[in-house]
Amino acid sequence: MSERRNGEVLLSVDKISLAFGGVRALEGVSFDVLEGEIRAIIGPNGAGKSSMLNVINGFYHPQEGSITFKGKTRKQMRPHFVASSGVARTFQNIALFKGMSTLDNIMTGRNTKMKRGILWQALHYGPARNEEIENRGHVEKVIDFLEIQSIRKTPVGRLPYGMQKRVELGRALAAEPELLLLDEPMAGMNVEEKEDMCRFVLDVNEEFGTTIALIEHDMGVVMDISDRVVVLDYGKKIADGTPDEVRANQDVVDAYLGVAHD
């Protein structure tokens, strides 16, 4: 697929370095994400892909570099601030609220959209109640979109893996994010589930214009759905470009074939 859009820069990371003790997870990584595009981050295991997402949404604080989101540059992000400025995410190892129903899980995605104070809520009355009903309506739309009406009331801990992944996507979508970060949304799925998930990702991007940055190991999927790809290996960026450019890049081929590093 060729470049479809040419939006403004929504997010850019600049010379990000992150180390855990002696482990250097990221070293001077820079790239940007344009408004409206699907941006893939790929690389072998341990390359630093998840760490990159964690830096973007503020779970990890990089030792060096900066992050620019919607024109504002910061040294580090804070998770709850990032969420309220329009970034939602899913996790590599599903992180749902296991004891809660599908509906409640997705409702938590509306957290940043609901403003009524604790006093109203304690009384469960008036404005807080109306707000609850309004947001519930929005969540129902997400549920319809992801075709999960049948599991609305099921505690998510009981759902099969593929469905959990879908609910997690639902929770992220409920926040109506401008930027959606997906950490291996199709990992561990069978072919059919993968196809569904691909379709949802493309639909979200096309229908709602949501910008998406996703990590994925399945090369077929990556080449199919992404506009641009950044490749990490051992914490460094080794390539950045369209799927075709990246596929043709010798460093990338070497990294994936496990050619020895010097």
């Binding site: 949404n57 503020g58 779970f59 998770p79 709850h80 969420a83 309220s84 939602a88 995410r89 996790f91 992180a95 749902l96 609220f97 296991k98 004891g99 809660m100 409640d104 409702m107 938590t108 995605g109 509306r110 957290n111 940043t112 609901m114 009524r116 604790i118 809520q121 304690a122 469960h124 807080a128 707000e131 609850e132 929770r171 926040a175």
Partner: protein, 311 residues
């Protein structure tokens, strides 16, 4: 009803009332443990502290009376005390939790032991350590109606305490199930990272949870204070809450309540019927023995999630 059965019923009821107290304290434990993984040793002291604060707002001879020569009406005193408990929660988050977020559970637990001593010390310093009668106008004495019609002796105060506790639990349940903040609380209890990712502020949630635990402590403190006066031993019911938690499971709200009631009833019945054979004072150790038995057969408690260590 025969005299024998009647007597048994009275024993059970008075056990239930003690159980309500245990349940309230255990409830505070569970709320905090679920939301922040902290085993809060200070929960009992929190009840003592709340009762003392209330006393000083409303009682003649209390702090406010000494300093300004007037006392607050009871309703205002209760609102002010709730305010104090929120401030205490906020201070605890600011001064303690925030700095220990990434630490091991045992360190957090130790910090709450320290906290218990600090609260006790501050309470002692500010409010003095003599026994203070707390009177907020809860009806006292036996319920005449029950006595006249059924020959049953039940303290009005105890009925009042049970009803208040029941209402408190229902209000909390609705709050947790039906509101955004309630959902956020459950979310934090379930998965910190995921909660952060949907924009929940952990710090705000902790302040809220500790405030709610403070209010539950206030209710417990009022009940206990009205019954036996406000005294240091109030902080010791925290020790009784531990067996309650082992019975009910550390993460279960219904568990805390039912566990509290079982222990309250169990120890009273044991005291009355077994006491004479073993020389009495069963009430002092019954709860712990029951907890020990539970640890052997059902370590996760009645309602707790099965504990599976990851290897």
């Amino acid at each position: 009803m025969s005299g024998e059965a009647l007597f048994f019923l009275e024993v059970v009821i008075s056990g239930l009332m003690a159980g309500v107290m245990y349940a309230l304290v255990a409830l505070g434990f569970v709320l905090i443990f679920k939301a922040s993984g902290v085993l809060n040793f200070a929960q009992g002291v929190l009840a003592l502290f709340a009762a003392l604060a209330l006393y000083d707002f409303i009682a003649p001879g209390g702090w406010v009376d000494d300093l300004f020569g007037f006392t607050f009406p009871i309703w205002a005193g209760i609102i002010l005390t709730v305010g104090v408990m929120i401030i205490v929660a906020w201070l605890i988050e600011r001064l303690v939790l925030q700095h220990l977020v990434q630490q091991e559970p045992i360190i957090l637990f130790m910090s709450t032991i320290g906290l218990a001593y600090i609260l006790e010390g501050v309470g002692d310093m500010l409010f003095g350590s003599d026994v203070k009668p707390l009177d907020i106008g809860i009806p006292q004495g036996a319920s005449d109606w029950l006595l006249d019609n059924y020959g049953l002796y039940v303290e009005k105060l105890e009925v009042f305490a049970a009803l208040t506790a029941a209402i408190l639990v229902i209000v909390l349940a609705v709050f947790f199930q039906k509101t955004r903040i309630g959902r956020a609380l459950r979310a934090v209890a379930d998965d910190h990272q995921a909660a952060l990712s949907v924009g929940v502020s952990l710090r705000t949630i902790w302040v809220i949870v500790w405030s709610v635990a403070g209010m539950v402590a206030l209710v417990a403190g009022i009940m206990w204070g009205s019954k036996s006066g406000i005294q240091f031993s109030l902080s010791l019911i925290a020790l009784k809450a531990l067996p309650v938690l082992i019975l009910g499971g550390f993460t279960s709200v219904p568990g805390a309540i039912i566990g509290g009631l079982i222990i309250g009833v169990g120890e009273k019945v044991a005291e009355v019927y077994l006491g004479p054979y073993v020389g009495g004072a069963i009430e002092n150790w019954f709860a712990y023995v029951l907890a020990l038995v539970f640890l052997f057969f059902r370590p996760q408690g009645l309602f707790g999630e099965r504990i599976i260590e990851r290897v």
